[in-house]
């Protein structure tokens, strides 16, 4: 049972350390537009091209929500699934 459920939940388990669940990660649209000056002039943080990328405050990089690193620290809402952006 553990093996089957592990396989079924494999992808989710593999992403438990994803940046999207880390407390250093910020991908809220308005916060990104403030952090990236000029973004709204010819684009937007609400555009599909951004996917769900966000800023990592630990590494000071723009990263995807599925990226990961050794300094991962779970956010308070880390149990939430990484939902695809519609």
């Amino acid at each position: 049972v553990k093996l089957v459920s592990g396989v079924l939940r494999g992808k989710r388990l593999a992403e438990l350390d994803a940046c999207g669940r880390c407390r250093f990660f910020e991908n809220e649209s308005r916060a990104l537009e403030l952090a990236l000056p000029g973004l709204t002039s010819l684009s937007s943080a609400d555009a599909a091209v951004r996917d769900r990328d966000g800023l990592c405050a630990r590494h000071e990089r723009l990263v995807t929500q599925r990226s990961y690193c050794r300094e991962f620290e779970p956010a308070a809402d880390a149990a939430r699934p990484l939902t695809p952006r519609r």
Binding site: F24, L36, G38, A48, V49, L55, R61, A76
Partner: protein, 475 residues
């Protein structure tokens, strides 16, 4: 609030076991509503097309709402026209306010911020529209797109507006909605005929421009992720491509703003330069539109340039229709260049993961990224074109689209609504471009990016005005 300030409380949290209220990070959970402006633009644009088609099918039209100022010579004529139609303008304002306001609310904006800022956008748009309809406007070079841009720049750079008013200055949302509506004014046969050449031409220029910027940047000693971010910004679709690739390759926080600044500065320069040079070369509107679509850096900036040049149609030696400039631009930029952004991001993320030095953050390479980053409004553009072409019983040319009831009751009103959306966009570019807030770029990024812009502009001219000239001339 600055980004650092927003994150500051995080640094004080002892651990994830903190009892403080959780910060909402992943905003989609539980809601079935779209969370990107692309899908909202598709729904909004196609919704307007569906209503228009429905009314047309019943022998009616949406044209009462799609009011625009009439051509005028004397101020008294204009005043009389506005007084006569004030209820139509009011109804149109309410329509746009409800459509944009309700959807922006879903994206996290407050009504109370959106309403006054959109009121300002609408009032200024009416003024600019009226100015463009003056029969002496051409004589004084008062091209509405440029007037809108300059007016916005003057207002925003003199600190006349508070930051919260940005809620109504949504450049990308307005232009995406306008592009979906633009699809409804083009025969699908035209899109299918011109699309493949647009894709071929745009692909050549995009690859060459990216390679030039990337290798010049590397040669100048810039970091690879910054080089890729600059390259995508110059080669694919401006600011949108820069942030997409910056995220995909894990660029430093300061890399994206450098690319954004360079895209904005060069885009504004090219808004002026491309129509000016095109008119000196007496390029037909379709050819100039293709060149602008190939060489302008961003959709919104390119539309300013293409619409400006379209307004030159009929002047000495400039052949073609105003719409040909916008159509060629859209096919080249949107269909030819923008749709590849997901593939660029995916390929570069693989290269960054496998070949470039580690940053401490590892990327899970995922082919689903190609679809997730796909600019969905292109789908709305194509569907709108297909729907109206079917309604027009397979009309295959502009001429068939632009005559009879199909034009007066369906295509022309949608064209008017499209023009409103574009004017909102042109104004919003100026209203959100505050030069003092842009990042410092430094000499090396500037040199690398500029080298790509120069190659892009020259190659775009060669392909549009020499190699594929017959194609774009015949649009």
């Amino acid at each position: 609030m600055r980004y650092e300030a927003m994150l500051a409380p995080l640094e004080q949290e002892p651990s994830f076991m903190s009892t403080e209220a959780p910060r909402i990070r992943i905003a989609t959970g539980g809601s079935f509503l779209p969370r990107t402006e692309d899908w909202w633009a598709v729904l909004l644009g196609l919704g307007l097309v569906a209503v228009s088609v429905g009314l047309y099918g019943q022998g009616s039209s949406i044209k009462w709402l799609a009011v625009t100022p009439a051509k005028w010579t004397h101020l008294a004529d204009l005043t009389a026209d506005l007084v006569k139609n004030w209820q139509r303008y009011l109804a149109q304002f309410v329509l746009w306010t409800v459509l944009f306001g309700a959807t922006l609310k879903v994206l996290g904006y407050r009504w109370i911020a959106f309403l006054p800022s959109f009121l300002l956008v609408y009032v200024l748009s009416v003024v600019i529209f009226c100015l463009g309809q003056w029969d002496q406007a051409n004589y004084y070079n008062l091209e509405p797109p440029l007037v809108a841009l300059v007016a916005g720049l003057v207002i925003s750079n003199h600190g006349m507006l508070p930051a919260w008013m940005d809620a109504g200055f949504r450049v990308e949302y307005y232009i995406k909605t306008g592009i979906v509506l633009l699809g409804a004014t083009l025969p699908f046969t035209l899109v299918a005929w011109a699309g493949p050449v647009a894709i071929a031409q745009a692909s050549i220029v995009s690859v060459v421009t990216f390679v030039v910027i990337y290798f010049v940047a590397i040669r100048l000693g810039l970091e690879k992720r910054l080089a890729a971010t600059l390259g995508a910004g110059g080669a694919v679709c401006g600011v949108s491509a820069a942030i997409a690739v910056a995220g995909a390759v894990g660029a430093r926080k300061q890399d994206a703003p450098i690319a954004i600044t360079l895209v904005i500065l060069w885009a504004i320069v090219l808004i002026v330069v491309l129509p000016l040079v095109s008119s000196r070369l007496a390029l037909p509107t379709g050819v100039a539109g293709a060149w602008i679509g190939t060489s302008e850096l961003a959709d919104a900036a390119g539309l300013v340039a293409a619409q400006t040049y379209g307004d030159y149609a009929g002047r000495a030696q400039i052949s073609g229709t105003p719409d040909a400039a916008i159509t060629a631009f859209t096919l080249m930029k949107v269909v030819g260049r923008d749709v590849w952004i997901g593939i660029w991001a995916f390929v570069l993320s693989i290269i960054a993961t496998m070949r470039w030095e580690s940053t401490g953050v590892k990327t899970r390479v995922d082919a689903g990224e190609i679809w997730r980053r796909f600019p969905k409004f292109v789908i709305g553009f194509l569907i709108a074109s297909l729907v109206v072409t079917v309604v027009a019983k397979g009309a295959v040319s502009y001429a068939q689209f632009n005559k009879g009831p199909i034009n007066s009751d369906l295509v022309a009103p949608l064209k008017n609504l499209r023009t409103w959306a574009f004017v909102f966009c042109f104004l919003s570019i100026g209203l959100t471009t505050r030069f003092r807030e842009l990042a410092d770029v430094g000499g090396k990024p500037f040199l690398a990016f500029t080298s790509g812009v120069v190659v892009n502009v020259l190659l775009g001219l060669l392909l549009s005005a020499v190699i594929f000239v017959a194609h774009w001339q015949g649009l």
